[in-house]
């Protein structure tokens, strides 16, 4: 697997406060992030709000320049690119935005919006060919090509997000970064858009980087996952592995917060107390220690480094061995159901089986 996008010790610090006489502090929105995204995979970045996911996405896309570290795209550091090279980068690296309402210019028709990247990146198309291509792209994302002369306000949220996807695909990119692509949509529409993105990735062999806070969406879509907390990546690994064996205490807390859709199911929750600390004054050592049930003295003194704990899985925690040894059972069935309910479920199962068999 070739690495297509890589973040090396990436950081974005904002100066905060301060005046002529006094130096202000800095807000570490993203701090020392290392990531490797392989060509063709769907890579998810997950974390609660304010953890720096969106900043990270913008850094990867070069919509922002990092204050430290580097983003490498196909072997080139993108911060050093200039003018025309940046525009060439936009062809290969595209972005799907969170809010389908505000991210489309209200003064332009859908055809104009989607044709614009074509004008820049495929200048040899004639106007007629461009319109044809716009129609093809609209059909590809499941919209009617005949609607291309309408304005964005004439579409629903899901349709607009499809327009945003068509726009992102217009330049035929290699990597698409989607920042919370479905969080602004109705739940019923979310699934459609998620599936659409999955299909498009398979058909086009795209590399997709998804930023999300919705674990169900992440689990459904992604091959690998990175968990962020307060600007740092605390755990990376194959999605199934991370979901099945979360090793970082924060990841554990996240996973145990996923509701289980089964009657009477109980599960041992790992509750987190308090709010995430202010990124203006992060705790010393491990930034998660203030909310971590496993925290000891070493956590306050040393920042944990990334350790490879299993093939492809990295965790930044001093105590990951202790964390893994405590079982986190998701007791999904039986327990908690009344005997009567259990009997009814059994009858229901037999009825279903009988229905299928003849």
């Amino acid at each position: 697997m070739t690495v297509i996008v890589e973040a090396q010790d990436l950081g974005k610090h904002y100066p905060v406060g301060g005046n002529l006489l006094q130096k202000g502090t800095s807000l570490k929105a993203v701090d020392g992030v290392n990531l490797k995204v392989h060509a063709g995979e769907t890579f998810a970045i997950v974390g609660e709000s304010g953890c720096g996911k969106s900043t990270l996405a913008r850094l990867l896309m070069r919509l922002m320049l990092p204050t430290s570290g580097e983003v490498i795209f196909e072997g080139r550091a993108i911060a050093k690119l200039k003018g025309a090279e940046v525009r060439a980068l936009r062809k290969d690296l595209q972005f799907i935005f969170q809010d389908p309402f505000s991210s489309l210019n209200p003064r332009m028709t859908v055809a104009q919006l989607i044709a614009e990247p074509l004008e820049i990146h495929r200048p040899n198309l004639t106007a007629g060919e461009r319109r044809k291509e716009v129609g093809r792209l609209l059909a590809e994302v499941g919209l009617r090509p005949s609607h291309m002369d309408r304005y964005p306000h004439e579409f629903s949220g899901g349709q607009r997000q499809r327009i945003g996807i068509a726009r992102a695909l217009a330049s035929d990119p290699k990597v698409v970064i989607a920042d919370e692509p479905v969080s602004a949509l109705d739940v019923s529409v979310q699934a459609q858009v998620v599936n659409l993105m999955g299909d498009l990735c398979d058909q086009r062999g795209l590399t997709l980087i998804v930023i999300a806070h919705d674990l169900a969406v992440i689990r459904h879509m992604s091959d690998r996952i990175a968990v962020m907390y307060l600007g740092r990546v605390v755990e990376t690994g194959p999605t199934d592995e991370v979901f099945a064996n979360p090793r970082h205490p924060y990841t554990r807390a996240l996973m145990s917060a996923i509701p289980v859709a089964e009657f009477g199911a109980t599960q041992s929750r790992q509750h987190l107390s308090g709010e995430p600390p202010s990124p203006l004054a992060p705790p010393s050592g491990c930034s998660f220690r203030t909310r971590c049930p496993f925290a000891t003295e070493i956590c306050a003194q040393m920042q944990p480094v990334n350790e490879t704990v299993a093939p492809g899985t990295e965790v930044a925690c001093h105590h990951w061995r202790d964390v893994s040894s405590v079982s986190l059972t998701i007791a999904a069935s039986a327990t908690g159901r009344s005997p009567g309910a259990e009997a009814r479920f059994a009858m229901y199962r037999t009825a279903l089986a009988n229905q299928d068999s003849p």
């Binding site: 896309m61 525009r87 060439a88 945003g164 726009r167 330049s171």
Partner: protein, 314 residues
């Protein structure tokens, strides 16, 4: 669309009636009347009364108003008591002068104010932004008459580059007309440019923060295209309103500048008419100015629809 325009024009009718009544009433509150102004030193009460009877000034105020309104509905704005010239004819000679001045000032204001606003928004917080703001504030705070006098002193008196004052209709000698009008238009335009610049700047700053501007950048568009095609078109709406309002104001509000450059325009005519209590002239001028304002506002509304597809088809 057409019904929208018609509805707007219908709404304009009560507005015009209200303005006419109001101005008519205000004039009657002023001490003195046109007859006194006409009679001068020799005030024989008998003569004054006869003259008042002649012009209907002894009638009750509502009779006076109705007889004026009747004339207006028949297309007759009345006659100036002072000069004996029909008001419509006076307006017809003065209005083009003021319109030319207003249009030329607007051209100055737009070509200075809007680019300056865009540049200072795009280069927000830089020296260029501060410089533009200082210039704009100076433009707003320097009185037009002072700037006019200074320009006359420097450009005309010292360097003999342009004529100092007067008016030449463009139909007579186009270039000379432009030359005489360019200084007053510049003086008027700078003040307007300053407020246009401030409005363009704040509107651009709002729009530049929008997500679709970020989308445009992510597409890989060149920055000038992002700014002009995506940001500026969306930022235009409040600017267009302001242009319409300023233009309406220019029709009546160029008094000082017209005075400094001795341009025989609308503003000067209003002032003269008020001083001589020339009721018919004041009424006529106010009516025409109000109509001008209403038309400009209607045009601004139509421009919105052109600029904003979300308003179409309503």
């Amino acid at each position: 669309m057409l019904s929208h325009i018609l509805r707007r024009l219908l709404v304009a009718i009560p507005t015009l009636i209200l303005i006419s009544v109001f101005i008519f009433g205000l004039q009657k509150l002023l001490p003195g009347d046109p007859v006194l102004a006409l009679a001068g030193e020799d005030r024989d009460p008998e003569t004054l009364n006869r003259l008042r009877d002649l012009y209907g000034l002894n009638d009750p105020i509502w009779v006076q108003f109705l007889s004026w309104a009747k004339g207006v509905l028949q297309g007759d704005l009345g006659t100036s008591i002072r000069s004996g010239i029909p008001v419509s004819q006076m307006i017809a000679t003065k209005l083009p002068v003021t319109l030319q001045l207003a249009a030329m000032s607007m051209v100055f204001a737009i070509f200075i104010g809007i680019p300056a606003g865009i540049i200072s928004a795009v280069r927000k917080g830089t020296k260029l932004d501060y410089a533009a703001n200082v210039v704009a504030l100076s433009g707003l705070s320097i009185p037009n008459f002072w700037l006019g006098i200074m320009l006359i002193l420097i450009v005309s008196v010292k360097f003999h580059l342009l004529p100092a004052s007067g008016y030449v209709p463009p139909t007579e000698d186009f270039w000379l007309s432009m030359k005489t009008m360019i200084m007053p238009a510049f003086v008027l335009g700078t003040g307007l440019a300053a407020s246009l610049m401030r409005h363009t700047r704040s509107s651009m700053l709002t729009v530049m923060r929008q997500d679709y501007v970020r989308t445009a950048r992510a597409k890989g568009l060149r920055e000038p295209i992002v700014i002009l095609r995506h940001a500026f078109r969306n930022a235009l709406t409040p600017v267009v309103t302001l242009i319409a309002l300023l233009f309406g104001e220019l029709i009546a509000g160029a008094v000082l500048t017209e005075q400094v450059f001795t341009i025989p325009g609308f503003g000067k005519m209003i002032v003269d008419a008020v001083f001589s209590r020339d009721y018919a002239v004041v009424q006529g001028v106010v009516l025409v100015t109000a109509i001008g304002f209403i038309i400009m506002n209607l045009l601004a509304d139509l421009a919105y629809v052109l600029l904003n597809p979300r308003l179409r088809g309503r």
